[in-house]
Each structure stands twice: as structure tokens, then as C-alpha cells.
């Protein structure tokens, strides 16, 4: 009974600035068990008064009609307002600068719903047959060009699959003496394509005219398993450990040679700015080469030589939202994904995936990384960056997922595995803003790209 009437009077009075007196009473009654101040700070006289006299006056039944209470409250308020004025600065203190908090809150409270909204399909959207796909970890047989055409090398043949209309065409079948095809790579214009061969030659093709433009030879002594374009420069990595920069416009096409790998170069990627080249080899070494250093010095020196991986470094992916961030994946003996600051050469993070890392792709729209793996799950794993929390595992392939390629709009991922299937995954969502971009490049391939004469 007492408690009930007390709390009602409390609730009423807590609206008026007189609250302090009630606060104290409430505090001294309620908080003794949870917070024990020192005795000198306790107001025993006051407490005694409130327990005995004070309550008599307030809660004597004859006094406590609601109207009277309201009257008393108003009286007290008026009385108090005459005495007190509540002031605050006109200029408010600055709201917390939300550099870290916003990130934190958005990742906690904002990103979760986004994640939930974006359904990540666990199964492939489409599966295509890929017979005779060479099951070789060190090759690069799949690429998706900016004109939305997917190129895949199956044995001696390079096929083109047009993702816009789903049509398939054969680009070229090379002779048995020079094949099989060991690498394919679209030029940035989405029209020209480079084909690396087992006999150390590289062919350049015009996919629109279905015509071979030239053959680059004499540079490598062994098969060319990795290719990377940087405007008019085609960089080739060979089993001989050499990396060559070929200017495809000129007759003596070899303009630079990078020596640093003892074994086959299986991973090769230019950074988005075109300033840095990352190369990974079967010698477990990752090199970062700087474009400007290479052209000025005759002796080609790497910017960084990184020997942290304990197995072949094939999977390389430059971060689309942070220019100097590189993700690399190690082979079966290493199984880690590592993150590098390529300016300093510092290893930022290393995550053991439990399986051979065959390929890595960044999501262009979200801070996410997709990795493809071999034994035992043969899965694709989607990671949140930088927390490296697993967001999803996409299974379906029955053998190691050797190659991955990303559609020009960044949403769809194609994966080719040793089970001789090519699967398409809608793993990176479907942002509307990204859609028009590839269309314009389809209609006018040279409108904004002037990279090949």
C-alpha cells in the first residue's frame, strides 16, 4: 500500500522541478541495497523525517484527494518557477564526431538489415558445361570482359559466352603443338583478348571481327599462365618465372622485364591505378612492382618481396575502395588469405580458410571479399571485410573451384571448377546504379577507352 501510493506521488511530482526532494527520499529508500555511500554523506535526519512525519502529512487519507494533490503540485510548481529559472546555452555542444562510432553503429545496427535484405543465394543461378577444362591450379582460363562477354579456355579452344543474350561462340582453336591454352585475358576495351599458350606464345585477337591481330613471341621460354592488362601494356607471366611488359602497339613489344620469381608466375594483377603490379608465383613469393621504378631503372627491382605465404600465390585481388590494399590467397599448403598495404609492404591481416585458395574477388559495391576453394568443400566463401566474418558459403561445385570472374556490373560471379562446370552466382547483389554502366560500354566500346590503337 505504502509503496503504491508513494510511486504515484513520485510519478506526479517527477514532472515538476521540485523533484529533488522526492528524489532523495526515493534514493535513500531504494538504493541502499545497491549502492552504499559513506555514512557521513547519508542524511539520516532527513530520512527519518520522511519516513515518519513527512509521510503522515502527504499520505494521510484525509489529504490525498486527487484534486488536492494536483493543486498542491501546481502550487509547488508556481512557487518554484518564481524562484528558479532554467537556462541552457543557445550554442549546443558539437555532436560526437562519428568517425569511429558511425562506422561501428552502421556496421552493427545498419548493415545487419542490409545483409538480411540482400539475400545471398546459396545455389548457383545457372550452370554451364565446361568440358575439357584443364585442371591446373597455375593457369588462368576464365575472364569476363567489360563488354559483358565471358571468355573461357577449354583445352585448345577459347569460347566466348555473351552474358547479355546467352549466345556462345568459338573464338579460336589452337593447334595441338602450341596448345593447350594456358591463359585468357580481356583488354580493358572488352573487344581485344589476349590468349597465352603452352608453347610460350601469346596471341592477340579482335573478338568482334573474330580475327587474330598479332602473336607475341620470343619473350618467354615456357608456357604463359598469367596475363594482365594495363592500358596498352600486356603483362605476361611465364612458367620460366619471367614477367614481361609488352607494349602491344609496337614491333619490339617487350618494354620491361621483371625478374624475381624462381618458378612459374601464376598470379598477375595490376592495381586499379595502374601504378603497381602484384605477381604471385609457385615459389610462394608475392612481389609488388612499381611502374615508375621499373621504367626508370634498367635493373628491374621489386618494390616489395613478400614471402609470408607458404604455398603458391595465385589468388590476387586489388581492393576497389582502397588503392593500396591487396588481398592474396595461398595454395593448398598455406590456405590463408592475407591482406597487404602495398605501399609499405605490411601484412595487415591473415586468415586461415582451411582450404586451398584458388581465386579472390572483391565486391565492388560492398566491403566484401569472395574466395573460391578446393578440397574439401570446393566452396565459394563470402567474407565481410575487414572483420572477415563469413557471410555465406556457396556450394555446388564437386571439385576445386579454380577460376572466378566478375561481371562488369560487379554483381554476378562466374566460377569454373575442375568438375568441368561453369556456374554463375548472384552473390554480390543487384544494385540498380551499377546496371547502366556496362550497357554504355557495350554500345560504344571506344567512347571512353582509347587504349588500343
Amino acid at each position: 500500500m505504502d509503496a503504491g501510493s508513494l510511486s504515484t506521488s513520485n510519478a506526479n511530482h517527477s514532472r515538476c522541478p521540485l523533484q529533488e526532494q522526492h528524489l532523495q527520499r526515493k534514493q535513500s529508500r531504494e538504493n541502499l541495497d545497491r549502492f552504499i555511500p559513506n555514512r557521513s554523506a547519508m542524511d539520516f535526519d532527513y530520512a527519518h523525517y520522511m519516513v515518519t512525519e513527512g509521510r503522515k502529512g502527504k499520505e494521510n487519507p484525509s489529504f490525498s484527494s486527487p484534486s488536492r494533490e494536483a493543486y498542491q503540485k501546481r502550487l509547488a510548481e508556481t512557487f518554484n518557477m518564481n524562484r528558479t529559472r532554467i537556462l541552457a546555452f543557445k550554442n549546443k555542444p558539437p555532436a560526437p564526431v562519428e568517425l569511429i562510432p558511425k562506422e561501428f553503429f552502421s556496421s552493427v545496427s545498419h548493415d545487419k538489415p542490409v545483409k538480411a535484405r540482400r539475400h545471398i543465394p546459396q545455389t548457383s543461378e545457372k550452370t554451364l558445361d565446361a568440358p575439357d577444362l584443364v585442371d591446373d591450379y597455375y593457369l588462368n582460363l576464365l575472364d569476363w570482359g567489360s563488354s559483358n562477354v565471358l571468355a573461357i579456355a577449354l583445352g585448345n579452344t577459347v569460347y566466348l559466352w555473351n552474358a547479355t543474350d546467352g549466345s556462345t561462340s568459338e573464338l579460336v582453336t589452337v593447334d595441338d603443338e602450341v596448345g593447350p591454352v594456358t591463359s585468357v585475358s580481356w583488354a580493358p576495351d572488352g573487344r581485344h583478348i589476349a590468349i597465352g599458350l603452352n608453347n610460350s606464345e601469346v596471341q592477340l585477337w579482335d573478338s568482334t571481327a573474330n580475327r587474330q591481330l598479332r602473336t607475341l613471341k620470343g619473350g618467354h621460354r615456357m608456357r604463359v599462365g598469367s596475363l594482365a592488362w594495363n592500358n596498352h601494356i600486356l603483362t605476361t607471366g611465364g612458367m620460366d618465372g619471367k614477367i614481361l611488359n609488352n607494349d602491344v602497339r609496337i614491333r619490339d613489344h617487350i618494354v620491361e622485364t621483371y625478374r624475381g620469381h624462381d618458378q612459374e608466375v601464376c598470379g598477375l594483377k595490376w592495381s586499379l591505378s595502374g601504378q603497381q603490379l602484384a605477381s604471385g608465383g609457385n615459389d610462394n613469393v608475392l612481389h609488388i612492382w612499381d611502374r615508375s621504378m621499373a621504367s626508370s631503372n634498367s635493373a628491374t627491382q621489386w618494390l616489395h618481396r613478400l614471402e609470408d605465404h607458404t604455398s603458391a600465390v595465385k589468388a590476387l585481388a586489388w581492393c576497389p575502395f582502397q588503392g593500396n590494399l591487396l588481398a592474396t590467397g595461398g595454395g593448398a599448403g598455406d590456405r590463408t588469405i592475407k591482406f597487404w598495404n602495398t605501399h609499405t609492404g605490411a601484412c595487415l591481416n591473415s586468415v586461415d580458410t582451411g582450404s586451398q585458395v584458388c581465386a579472390l574477388l572483391w565486391n565492388k559495391n560492398e566491403r566484401e571479399l569472395l574466395s573460391s576453394h578446393g578440397f574439401s568443400q570446393n566452396q565459394l566463401t563470402l567474407w565481410k571485410y575487414p572483420s572477415m566474418v563469413k557471410m555465406g558459403e556457396l556450394t555446388g561445385h564437386t571439385s576445386r573451384v579454380l577460376f572466378m570472374a566478375q561481371s562488369p556490373d560487379g554483381c554476378t560471379v562466374a566460377s569454373a571448377a575442375a568438375d568441368e562446370t561453369l556456374r554463375f552466382w548472384n552473390v554480390f547483389g543487384t544494385p540498380e546504379v551499377a546496371k547502366p554502366a556496362p550497357k554504355s560500354s557495350v554500345t560504344e566500346p571506344f567512347a571512353h577507352l582509347n587504349r588500343i590503337r
Binding site: A3, G4, S7, N10, A11, S14, R15, P17, Q19, E20, L23, Q24, K26, Q27, S28, E30, N31, R34, F35, P37, N38, A41, M81, N82, R83, T84, R85, I86, L87, A88, F89, K90, N91, K92, P93, P94, A95, P96, V97, E98, L99, I100, P101, K102, F105
Partner: protein, 207 residues
Amino acid sequence: MASKTATKDIITLRGSAAIVSEFFGYAANSILYNRGLYPEESFVRVKKYGLPMLLTQDEGVKTFISNLTAQLSEWLEAGKLQRVVLVIMSKSNNEVLERWNFRIETDGEVVEQGVSREKSDKEIMREIQAIMRQIASSITYLPCLDEPCVFDVLAYTDKDLAVPFTWMESDPKLIANPQMVKLHSFDTKIHKVDTLVSYKNDDDDDE
């Protein structure tokens, strides 16, 4: 004791106002830090009251607090300040989540007649230290502020006071049916400061 240390332990109105307003400055910083309103790295550690205290380096907050303490000091000297309340509100909907209540009782005689009182600095510091410790330890029982928050400071002054043009009248920003915890007090013999924190009651089912 009095005769021996009397010259040392005299406290004037001006001195008391300085101590109390400085106390508010440090208390506000400590609350902002301990309740995580601003990022941890925007605070630096200093030694004060025999404790490591944290002071914000954020220029905006720093200016706000120094303007505040300057004004409070003026009002304290005039004996016009009844209470200072630091209010913590949700940034998104301005809901009041916490009120740090400092009630001030001023010795009228000192203000009117300009007499001074006796109390040693050391003793005052010890009392303030106890409050500061309690503020720091309050995070153990206060509910988590799991959303971005902003703060404001209310000054309860006498009615006859002219409102400075940088200030405006405000509502008391009360919390309905709050939980309350009283902290220590300190007394300069001229100004007595009672500290109390009230916060939003997250379980409404009791009582």
C-alpha cells in the same frame, strides 16, 4: 589546529566559486568520457584531484565546457546558481536518457557580507576525489548507452538573474519515472554540492 593553519585554510567566495566551477569542468569531461559520448581517443589524461582525469581535446566540446565553467563561476560568485544538470540525450530522437544533477547550496551570509570560511584545500580535494571516483564507477550500474548521444547542460538560477544573451530558457528535460543514485557531496563551507544521477528506468514493471 585552527590557530596553526588558519591563515592557510581560509576560503573566500571567489576561491570557492573557482573550485566549484573547476569541479564542474572536470566532472563534465569525466561523464562524457565514461559514458562514451565522444570517442576515447579524443581525450587526454591529466592528473587532478590525485586521480588520473580525462580531458577532451575536441575543440568544440572544449570551448563549450570552458564557456560553461566561466559562466558558472560568475553565477557562483553572485550566489545565484541553484543547480547544474548535465543531460544526456539520444541523438536520434532527443529522448533524455540520463541527468547528472549537481545541486548547489550557497551560504548566503558569505555572499551578502563578504566573510570567508575555513576549510583546507586538502579536505575539499578529498571530497571531490570521492565524487570523481563514483562518476568513473557509475558505468557499472548505469544502463548502456547503445546509440549515439548528445549532451546539454542546464543551469538552474535564481529568477532575478538577467539572462546572458548566449543563454536561453529551457525546459527541465526530465526523465519520467527515473531511477536515481545519489553520489557523494562536497562542501567548501561556502558552496555545498550534492551529486545525483538519474537515468531512464529500463524495466518499468517494478513497483
